[in-house]
Every structure is written in C-alpha cells, then in structure tokens.
C-alpha cells in the first residue's frame, strides 16, 4: 500500500544557481518537486527512497 515507483529523477538549477527542484516520474506521472520541502509527499518519498538506496537523483544539465 502506498508503494510508489519513482524513475528519471533529475535536479534542476534555478536563478540563484542552486538546485530548486527535481523533475521526476512518480508512478509514471511527471512531477516537478521542490527541494527541501518536508511535508510534500513527493519530496518525502524521494528522500525515503534515496536513503534506502533505491533512487539516485541525476545532476542538473
């Protein structure tokens, strides 16, 4: 239950030159997720999967 498949995670750099969001496929749907956004379910799940070693986020272009 609440099992989420995350693929194609990649950082995006914003105007200040830092990572501002992650483009990701969340159960197959493209979502743009803010970084450092605890409480955002996408961000929380990304953090969980990264910590578990199940997901790697690619650097921004």
């Amino acid at each position: 239950m609440d099992e989420v498949t995350i693929t194609e995670a990649k950082y995006v750099v914003g105007s200040e030159g830092t990572n501002t969001c992650i483009i990701v496929k969340f159960n197959g749907q493209q979502v743009v997720v803010p970084v450092n956004a605890p409480g955002n379910r996408h961000w929380d799940e990304i953090q969980r999967q990264v910590a578990a070693g199940d997901l790697t986020i690619a650097d921004a272009d």
Partner: protein, 371 residues
C-alpha cells in the same frame, strides 16, 4: 425539563453546529483533475486522479473506471463511482482495493485521541451498489499504526442507502499535531484473505493487524464486470450521533480542496493565463504565480499533458509558443507567491516580458500539496 431546556442540553452536548464534518469534498462536488480515470490493475492509476481529496489504493488484477457521477440521492448533485471493467473472481491473499481520504493531524486534535478525554467518532454516508452484501469502512490512525473497522450492508441492489457507523473513542496513541496525514478513512471494496481472515476489530481501535482490518464477509466488488459502487455525503464527526450532512457551497469546498491541489492556470480554452513572465534567459521566462490559498506544504508542479504542453508568451517581443516539450520548473517556492521557469522559447531578449499562458485544449498547470 422544558422543551427549551432539553434543546439547550442537547446543543450543549454536541460539538460545533458548523464545521462538524471533518471530511473535505464529502459531497464529491470538486474534481479539479478531471471527472473520469482508469484505475488498476496492480496499482496503475493509484492515487489522486479525479475527485479532490479522494484516492484509490489497490493491488491485483481488478480494473475499474473511477469517476465523478451525477447519480446521487436527493439533496446531492454528485457521487464517486467505481465501475468494474476487468473482473477477478478468485482473489489472491494480497489483493485489495480501497477508496479513501486523509485528514491532517492538526485538524483532528479535537478528537482527544490518545488521552483520557478521547471521543468517539461517527461516520455517515450514502451508498449505492448493484452488489449487495457486507462492506467494510476503516478508520486508520496513521501516526500510531492503529485501526478500527466497522461493517455495513448494502441491502438492496441499485438503491441509495444511508449508513451510520460509530467508532469507539481511542485513549491510546495521540495524533501528531502537524500537517501530515494522521487519520485515514478507507472504504474497502476488494479484500484478499490477508486482510479479512483474523478477528474483526468491529469499531474498536487496536494495533493494526492486517488480518483484522476487513470483515470476513466483505464482498468482492471486482468479481463481475459492470459492478458499480457509488458513495456521497460522507461525513465524519465527533460523537455518537450522526447529524444531517453539512452541505457547503461549491466555493467553500473548492477553497478547502485548494489547500491540497490548486490549478494555477485558467481553464477557459481561449485564455488560460498562468501569470506575468519576465526575461530569465534567451529561452526562458520567469513567471510569478500566486496560490489561491496557502497550501499544506510547498507544492509540486503537475502539468495536464507533460511533454506536449505548450506555453504561449504574449510579450513585448511578440507572441509565440514554446516548443511544448519543456516542463515548467520551480524557481522559488515560498508561499503564497511562487516563481516558475517556463523554457523552450527562442531568441528572447532582456527587455521581453509579458503574459504567459497555457496552450492546448484542456491543458492546465497545477500545484500539488496533497497528503
């Protein structure tokens, strides 16, 4: 006691006369994402797809169409409808399907859960199905892994029936006082033996044991193509009495839903303004977007047609569409004003600024802070 005194005593014994219903979109009025979606098999289409604040969780081969329906009992205009399109007559132990909504912890503190002053809860709703028999409605304490379930019966085929279920007060396990999901209301439609083979909790919260969550006589809604299950008028309130459904205006309900999901662009096909864009670089506008209400958490950005959703700039250098393949990304997330970067344009100059619109029939950009 005089009638007036009786009335005063009755009122005094109840909770607030307004804002009684803890459920948002219980009348199934708001469906910002769309009005119909395919759900299943094996988790495909899980999550929020049509009606705001309501999602499906599933495992197994059953497939359905999940929609906002205009079938409704008197006094309501809409319901949620699940219609089976691929059946499974022989469920494996781990198969399940439930329809649910989630409540924030800070919005259920009034229950006093986990204290000596904990209060019972009453769930009421209208339901209709061609599949008669026993169903299960579960309250799940997501903070403490506790749950309480009660059974209800659909007695007559294709007939709206009003159900009332009262769950015992729980003096164990306080809800976190935060913006995370604490209380989940889950209507089971399909259950393998993994969830219905134990001792049914029967309305008393207990440490969650999967086998105790669903009644042993739970029907399998997914056993026949064409089976339908409708629900509306869902109300969860403090106490042991179900009061009449607390109707809210569409605008009120929409605002409540927008705390969790809000379209940032207009919906009119000819002019779906996203916001004012200023030059960021030769291919990108930085667009200011104001959220309609402060959202539950910093939101994600979701497009209706990612990968093929064009944006149009009506700017000082002319009018042009971008390439449609470039996602709008977040530049700054501080609410209530966000900034998005909308790229895929060409040859922008530093003086270019203007109106940025979402192009393409039915397309939109939305902010998602759902639980």
């Amino acid at each position: 006691m005089s009638k007036a005194a009786e009335l005063a005593a009755l009122i005094g014994s109840q909770t607030a006369l307004s804002n009684r219903n803890l459920i948002i979109n219980g009348a199934m009025q708001v469906a910002q994402r769309g009005t119909s979606a395919t759900v299943g098999p094996n988790g495909t289409g899980e999550g929020y797809t049509t009606l705001d604040r309501w999602d499906n969780q599933l495992n197994g081969s059953v497939v359905s169409t999940f929609s906002q329906s205009t079938e409704a009992p008197s006094g309501f205009a809409h319901s949620a409808k699940i219609e089976i399109t691929t059946a499974d007559t022989s469920l494996s132990a781990a198969e399940f399907w439930f329809f649910r909504t989630k409540l924030e912890g800070q919005n259920v503190q009034l229950l006093g859960k986990g204290t000596s002053g904990a209060k019972p809860l009453t769930l009421s709703f209208w339901v209709k199905s061609n599949k008669t028999g026993t169903y299960t409605a579960e309250l799940k304490d997501n903070d403490n892994d506790r749950s309480a379930s009660l059974a209800y019966t659909v007695n007559s085929s294709n007939t709206w029936e009003h159900k009332t279920l009262t769950y015992s007060a729980d003096t164990t396990g306080a809800f976190d006082n935060d913006n995370a999901a604490s209380l989940l209301i889950q209507f089971w439609l399909v259950s393998g033996s993994q969830y219905n083979s134990g001792t049914f909790s029967d309305g008393t919260f207990e440490a969650e044991v999967n086998a105790n969550r669903v009644h042993s006589s739970q029907v399998n809604l997914g056993d026949t193509v064409g089976n339908e299950w409708y629900i509306t008028g869902v109300q969860l309130e403090v106490g042991e009495q179900a009061t009449p459904f607390e109707h809210r205006s569409f605008g009120d309900e929409l605002l409540r839903c927008q705390r969790y999901f809000a379209k940032a662009s207009g919906e009119d096909d000819n002019s779906r303004c996203l916001g004012h864009g200023s030059y960021k670089d030769s291919s990108t506008f930085r667009v200011i977007v104001r959220v309609p209400v402060v959202m539950r958490a910093d939101p994600s950005v979701v497009e209706k047609s990612p990968g093929s959703q064009a944006y149009r700039g009506n700017h000082s250098g002319g009018n042009e569409n971008n390439d449609g393949s470039t996602a709008a990304t977040l530049d700054n997330t501080g609410q209530p004003v966000l900034t998005l970067n909308v790229g895929g344009f060409s040859g922008l100059s530093s003086t270019d600024n203007g109106l940025i619109k979402v192009e393409g029939s039915g397309n939109w950009l939305a902010l998602d802070a759902e639980l």
